[in-house]
């Protein structure tokens, strides 16, 4: 005999099991209708896979699991699907649930049963999938999917829960008395799947017949039946594990992490029926007791209407209040039209003698009886105080979530305070607050992004205005010199041009003020973005054309000091655009052009430190696709104008970037022809804008470069080199 461990607290309420534990499990006739709710496990409701009007066979799949925590649902008998829709559901919320209503045809035609004869050899996952498809869940009331409980391996102890500690309930008692062999077969399957070192079957000592039956069935096996002292809640998984193994499973820790797993006897029976006989979970044993004439256990099909079930046990008077589950943890059924669910282990019709109305609650006098009764060793009176004061932080600090809601504290409270209600309230409030917090976080992120977007749009607007100002300044500058055709002639004008450019720069700077720092820094990364963008193959076509154009334009513009800030803005938009893949074609073009423009900004070497920030900004920018496209489009406008203004000798590094882009672009043969064509167009446009007449040689070179690029791959390098040469350094 192994040592038994006690757990703290616990209560000894009147057992009231004798009303129903004396008679064998009754088989019931077919109910007129079955209401099978699709939420039959702790997870999502299963997804119906039948249509109204469809004929189904007994055991046929009618709803498939939706997610890991969900299990399949089957037709409990053969018949016709009448409806799929909302129907009363046996749940404390009182809310209806999606339910398949089935009209039995009375023939009980099975579909071919498929068992898992090779379960010993089967991989763990195969057995688990099988159980999920068979709809097996914990039948102790928690309806936790059994396949997930069998996921562990190399278990030290498998604890079999036959304690059945709640008053009134005797379904496990009768099941153990009558079907011990199947239960033990189920234990064998579970122990094999879990590679359990030992199996301990805990049964409260108020069930001597069940203990005897299980001992007989276990004869010859290594499974050990252990009679444990009758004390509520010894049937709680944590308590039973503690009693049998001495291990305490804290809240938030899986029992398997301590090498233990706990399975209910009815669940193991269901596992055996599924694995050995191919029977999905279609029915369960239900204790019908309380104010009924023939309290007993019945084997009821899932979906049997609860009022019909109670009528089978004989109702002397219409049932007023019916508890589903035990009197300590059960709930009042909101609507007896609901069908029996897998969680329905017991139905108690309340009578006035055994369930007198609870006296009005008095203030807590801190007597500490609840703390003495609490099996989790909490301080329920403190938790009550915190819950009542809505001091949820403190309640959590006092381990509110360790509460298993067994109701022992409510049972002993001399002030008759429904303590568990307060804990449920506090828990739901905390959960609601967490949901709200998540929602608020999401809203905050959205808001921040919106702010960013607004700012960026502002900056884009600013850069547009800057570009326009610069354009006008350029026009002004262009109109000043007389129409001398030579570059040398313009030597007289630099002063005026400088003044005009300075004015434009001042205007541009004013417009650019609202720009955030990160934006400005982002601009400096234009080259990098340009490279990335250029690497996009798809971008190649346009890229091939425009860099050449930009470079050509630069090369032919007279040496005027550039309006730096305006250009930077322009570049930034290019960066954003460039990172956007879907916008790649357009984007690829602009940054390169921007880079080309950059090369003309002699006075403003890019600060390297801004790179990281720039990247970050670029990433954010990429997040908004549509905006990027827009930016790219806008960029195009400003670019042309800006290019015509910029006039200082381009940086060599800038040119390198252009080259790279050009090289890659040129690698695409097919693109080349188009590029050449576009080049021509661009050129004319550029010519019309540029005030000082371009150098003829520059024009020729540019055209040449484009043509060469179009002719073959390697030509691109040459084209770039030639562009280099054109630079009037």
């Amino acid at each position: 005999m192994s040592r038994l461990y006690d757990f703290h607290g616990g209560i000894h309420p009147p057992e009231n099991k004798q009303q129903s534990n004396g008679t064998p499990i009754r088989q019931l006739p077919l109910p007129p209708l079955l209401h099978i709710a699709l939420a039959q496990s702790v997870g999502n409701a299963a997804l119906p896979c039948v249509q109204p009007g469809q004929q189904v066979l007994k055991g046929q799949l009618i709803a498939t699991p939706d997610g890991r925590l969900s299990v399949a649902v089957h037709a409990p008998t053969s018949g016709t699907v009448l409806a799929i829709g909302e129907h009363a559901f046996a749940h404390p919320s009182g809310l209806p649930a999606t339910t398949i209503t089935l009209q039995p045809d009375g023939r009980e035609h099975w579909q071919p049963r498929q068992n898992l004869p090779h379960w010993r050899e089967a991989a763990g996952s195969e057995l688990r999938d099988f159980l999920q498809q068979m709809g097996v869940v914990g039948l102790g009331g928690a309806v936790f999917p059994s396949h997930l409980k069998l996921a562990a391996g190399r278990l030290q102890t498998l604890v079999v829960n036959g304690a059945e500690c709640e008053p009134y309930i005797t379904c496990d008692d009768r099941l153990m008395q009558e079907r011990a062999v199947d239960i033990v077969a189920g234990i064998g399957i579970a122990a094999h799947a879990l590679q359990a070192g030992e199996v301990l079957i805990g049964i409260e000592d108020n069930k001597p017949l069940a203990i005897a039956a299980m001992q007989t069935a276990c004869h010859g096996s290594t499974f050990r039946v252990v009679a444990i002292p009758t004390k509520y809640p010894s049937g709680g998984a944590k308590q039973l594990i503690r009693i049998l193994t001495g291990k305490e499973v804290p809240h938030g820790v899986r029992a398997t992490e301590l090498g233990v797993q706990c399975l209910n006897v009815a669940t193991l029976y269901a596992i055996a029926r599924a694995v050995l006989h191919g029977e999905p979970l279609l029915s369960r044993i239900v204790t019908l007791t309380g104010a009924v004439t023939h309290a007993a256990n019945v084997e009821a099909l899932l979906g049997s209407p609860l009022d019909w079930l109670l009528a089978q046990a004989g109702l002397p008077a219409p049932a007023t209040e019916v508890i589903m589950g035990g009197p300590l943890m059960g709930f009042t059924v909101p609507d007896l039209a609901a069908g029996l669910s897998k969680a329905g282990n017991c139905l108690i019709v309340k009578n006035a003698a055994e369930f007198p109305p609870r006296p009005a609650a008095m203030p807590c006098i801190r007597c500490g009886d609840c703390a003495s009764a609490c099996p989790m060793e909490l301080q329920p009176m403190d938790l009550f105080w915190f819950a009542k004061a809505k001091n949820f932080g403190k309640a959590q600090e006092w381990q509110l979530f360790d509460c298993i809601e067994c109701g022992a504290c409510s049972y002993v409270c001399p002030s008759q305070i429904p303590l568990v209600d307060y804990y449920r309230f506090a828990k739901s409030e905390i959960w609601a607050a967490e949901r709200d917090k998540k929602a608020a976080d999401l809203a905050r992120r959205r808001h921040e992004f919106r702010q960013f977007r607004i700012e960026r749009e502002k900056s884009e607007k600013a850069e547009r205005l800057a570009a326009r100002a610069a354009e006008q300044a350029a026009k002004l500058a262009a109109s000043q010199p007389p129409a001398s055709a030579t570059l040398v002639a313009s030597d007289d004008d630099p002063k005026k041009a400088i003044i005009a450019a300075a004015m434009a720069r001042a205007a541009a700077q004013q417009e650019a003020k609202p720009l955030s720092e990160s934006h400005i820094q982002a601009l400096d990364d234009a080259k990098q973005a340009a490279i990335k963008a250029a690497m996009e193959r798809a971008a190649a076509r346009k890229a091939a054309a425009q860099p050449a154009a930009g470079a050509a334009a630069d090369s032919r513009v007279a040496a005027n000091p550039p309006p730096a800030s305006g250009m930077d803005d322009a570049k930034q938009a290019a960066v954003e655009a460039a990172l956007e893949r879907s916008a790649a074609r357009k984007a690829a073009a602009q940054p390169v052009a921007g880079a080309a423009a950059d090369s003309s900004v002699a006075a403003n070497p890019p600060p390297a430190s801004g790179m990281d920030d720039a990247k970050q900004a670029a990433i954010k920018a990429a997040m908004e696709r549509a905006a990027a496209r827009k930016a790219a489009a806008q960029q195009a406008n400003s670019e042309t104008a800006a290019n015509s203004v910029s006039a200082s000798p381009p940086l060599a590094s800038g040119m390198d970037d252009v080259k790279q882009a050009a090289v890659k672009a040129a690698m695409e043969r097919a693109a080349a022809h188009k590029a050449a064509a576009q080049q021509a167009n661009n050129e004319t446009a550029a010519n019309s804008v540029a005030a000082s007449p371009p150098l003829a040689s520059g024009m020729d070179d540019a055209k040449q470069a484009a043509i060469k690029a179009a002719m073959e791959r390697s030509a691109a390098r040459k084209a770039a080199a030639q562009q280099d040469q054109q630079d009037p350094t």
């Binding site: 804290p250 508890i323 709930f331």
Partner: protein, 341 residues
């Protein structure tokens, strides 16, 4: 009531708890009446009537339904504990004032049942002993009680029938005698304790009453209405502190037994420090709370200005209860190894 509420409950109520406490007081009351005379019952009656009336008035003022809160008997328990701590032949108005203060201020103004941070009976006692030290020091001579009529006359009119000695209504308690005797000097403790008032164990008659409280306490413990920690810790505190002083200087300090049997030590150990509302609720907290009440009782008795000190010790420790509870939370199931987060 929600659908998910616990559907069954033990048929226990606050009233049954309070009724059991009152029952547990009966042996001590009987012995006290035997030693001190009918005046004890009169004090109990006065206190009860005052307490219930004050409770009803306050509940009315607070707009709280009267019936459930009068039926809970908590006011009666307060009244009885206070009356039993007061001098049996004290003037009628003394117990009335003390009870009024206990119920109106210490209990109802703090929010009534379950919300008072201080033990109401001890608050009432402290108010009386601070405000009326002379009246509070005048105890009847035990085992030589006046006849019932004389007691009534004394309590209500402060006059004695012809022939009755004033000593019969105004003799000091042993604690008082010892204190004044030591202050006067000349005699040490063992010499002082040879006086007739001290009897064989330091409190002629009083030891029987103390035994009465002990019997009631054992029954309450058996009924699981009081924990063992608080009473035992308080007694241990008294014995430990008094014992240490006595061992150090037997001529200056009385024995632990003297402190156990005198004043309200046992009454407090069983019925006062076990008051759940104003006491500690954690197992370790109860040990600390009870133990320190015991230590403080002896220290205030020996070095303080008042002859008895249980009330002050209890009130001081009442202040510390939230602090004690905060730091003595028991480890939750499954978290024994780790510290509470």
């Amino acid at each position: 009531m929600t659908r998910h509420a616990t559907h069954i409950a033990k048929p226990a109520t606050v009233s049954t708890v309070m009724l059991k406490v009152l029952t547990a007081l009966l042996p001590g009351i009987a012995l006290s009446v035997y030693c001190n005379g009918i005046g004890v019952l009169l004090q109990l009656g006065l206190a009860t009537v005052t307490a219930v009336a004050a409770e009803a008035a306050m509940l009315r003022l607070r707009g709280v339904p009267l019936a459930p809160f009068l039926k809970d008997l908590s006011a009666v328990v307060t009244a009885w504990l206070l009356a039993l701590a007061m001098p049996p032949l004290g003037a009628w108005w003394l117990i009335v004032v003390a009870t009024l203060f206990a119920i109106v201020v210490a209990k109802q103004l703090y929010g009534g049942l379950g919300n008072n941070p201080f033990n109401p009976a001890m608050v009432g006692f402290a108010v009386a002993i601070i405000s009326f030290p002379a009246q509070m020091a005048a105890w009847g001579s035990p085992l030589l009680p006046l006849d019932a009529m004389a007691q009534l006359q004394w309590i209500f009119s402060h006059s004695l029938p012809a022939g009755a000695a004033l000593d019969a209504v105004s003799s000091a308690t042993p604690l008082d005698l010892l204190k004044t005797g030591l202050l006067q000097g000349g005699q040490d403790v063992p010499q002082l304790l040879t006086g007739t008032r001290f009897g064989q164990f330091g409190n002629a008659g009083g030891e029987w009453i103390a035994l009465g409280w002990l019997i009631g306490g054992l029954w309450l413990w058996q009924q699981k209405l009081i924990p063992w920690q608080t009473p035992l810790a308080m007694l241990a505190g008294v014995i430990g502190m008094a014992g240490a002083l006595w061992l150090a200087a037997p001529a200056q300090f009385a024995s632990p037994l003297f402190h156990l049997l005198n004043g309200a030590t046992l009454l407090a150990a069983v019925f006062i420090v076990t008051d759940p509302v104003s006491g500690s609720t954690t197992p370790r907290g109860r040990l600390i709370f009870g133990g320190l009440v015991g230590v403080l009782t002896v220290l205030i008795r020996v070095f303080g200005g008042f002859p008895d000190a249980v009330a002050f010790a209890v009130l001081i420790m009442n202040i510390a209860v939230p602090f004690i509870d905060q730091y003595t939370q028991p480890k939750v199931f499954g978290r024994k190894g780790a510290r509470r987060a």
